[in-house]
Chain length 232, copies 2
């Protein structure tokens, strides 16, 4: 989040993204390898490395690193919680798990399904430029944070006046930050560069085939630092 | 964030907190020891342990752990960034660093000053119950997330219509989540329990002597798990 990209990128996106559109049936689901249990820097050591780095190489990241990254962001880290569902790496309001991660790779956009730990095809084509300008558009992974208001279908969200209120907004933006915090720290622990920023909210709802209850909020770009050595 | 505390605690706080009020001059500033550079679990291993735990012991945490916790949350992790100021462990909108951490300890409330890494006295007295009910009110540390809208004094926040708009709110709630993500992962890396939740927004602005530009958003309770062994 910095001055240049955090506030000023929104109006410019229409002319930046390519017109690549295609059908998701061109893409196959990606079964991600199991996320690793350990490795990389400690939390304290990673926090010393945590920063925004917008200078990101187009170099692809290995499938195991992508798997670890998405799991770190908002994967399932425990089963059979008292409330009846799987627990996630990031908290959410009343465990609504209201944020979905749409992942733009060079070949297409996928929805991250946390329980099977799998990428479900959404649309083929290169939509990474919907995330941002310059290096961001060529970075190997762009994660779009999308809230699904339909996830607020149960109590206590059915209280009068609560639906899509300022209170609910505060919940889903905090939930976005909690996931983004995981992404930043995972990146720092692995020597990856990460950059959280605004994104196109005009074209993506249609292109990503979102329902009216879904809203694109922010995006997070991750890859190897362009100005550094490839980490171990 | 869970059903019981995340949504329903707000109206009940007026009768829960004690009436302890005093003068901050009763308290002395606390110079925190330098945050440690390493130690505890890796980021991946901590993510496997990340969860909300509301069952928190009243046992105090050592000063070095408190120092590490607050630094992890939103401390200074690098000097002389290109934009001219110190870098922090959590990103913020256009580097506004708009969130302040008010820390309620048993003896009083302090403001965390990141650059000197120090706790500045705000008010003496036990205000931990302003954070939540039951165990939360006796937990050793309660962190209140407070946005300071005066930090948005520079471009690009001076654009017309932006001040305290929905856009700005999205920034400070995401910034809160980014800090809270650090707190959750640091806690998980050290075997501490953590619980992010709503808090009293009615009494705290006056009690914490906030300016009109400041707003209390959420709170985070941290301590040793009451149901587990004290970690190493």
């Amino acid at each position: 989040m910095n001055r240049r990209t955090f506030l000023k990128t929104l109006p410019a996106f229409g002319v930046l993204a390519g017109t690549a559109t295609s059908f998701s049936q061109d893409l196959q689901p990606i079964s991600l390898p199991k996320p690793e249990k350990d490795g990389g820097k400690s939390v304290l050591a990673a926090l010393w490395e945590r920063k925004t780095n917008r200078n990101i190489s187009p170099q692809k990241i290995p499938m195991q690193v992508l798997s670890n990254l998405l799991w770190a962001a908002f994967g399932v880290n425990r089963e059979n919680e008292p409330f009846g569902g799987p627990g996630r790496t990031a908290a959410s309001a009343s465990n609504s798990q209201e944020i979905d991660l749409y992942v733009a790779l060079p070949e297409g956009v996928y929805l991250y399904e946390a329980v099977p730990h799998r990428l479900r095809p959404v649309v083929a084509g290169d939509f990474r430029a919907r995330s941002g300008r310059r290096a961001v558009a060529t970075a190997p992974v762009n994660i779009f944070y999308v809230v699904d208001l339909a996830k607020y279908s149960k109590a206590p969200f059915q209280e009068p006046g609560l639906k899509d209120s300022d209170v609910v907004k505060s919940y889903y933006y905090v939930a976005t930050g909690l996931i983004a915090g995981n992404v930043y720290l995972f990146a720092a622990s692995q020597g990856l560069a990460a950059h959280f920023h605004n994104c196109d909210k005009t074209n993506t709802p249609r292109e990503f085939k979102l329902r009216p209850e879904q809203r694109v909020l922010f995006a997070h770009t991750v890859g190897y630092p362009a100005d550094g050595q490839r980490p171990r």
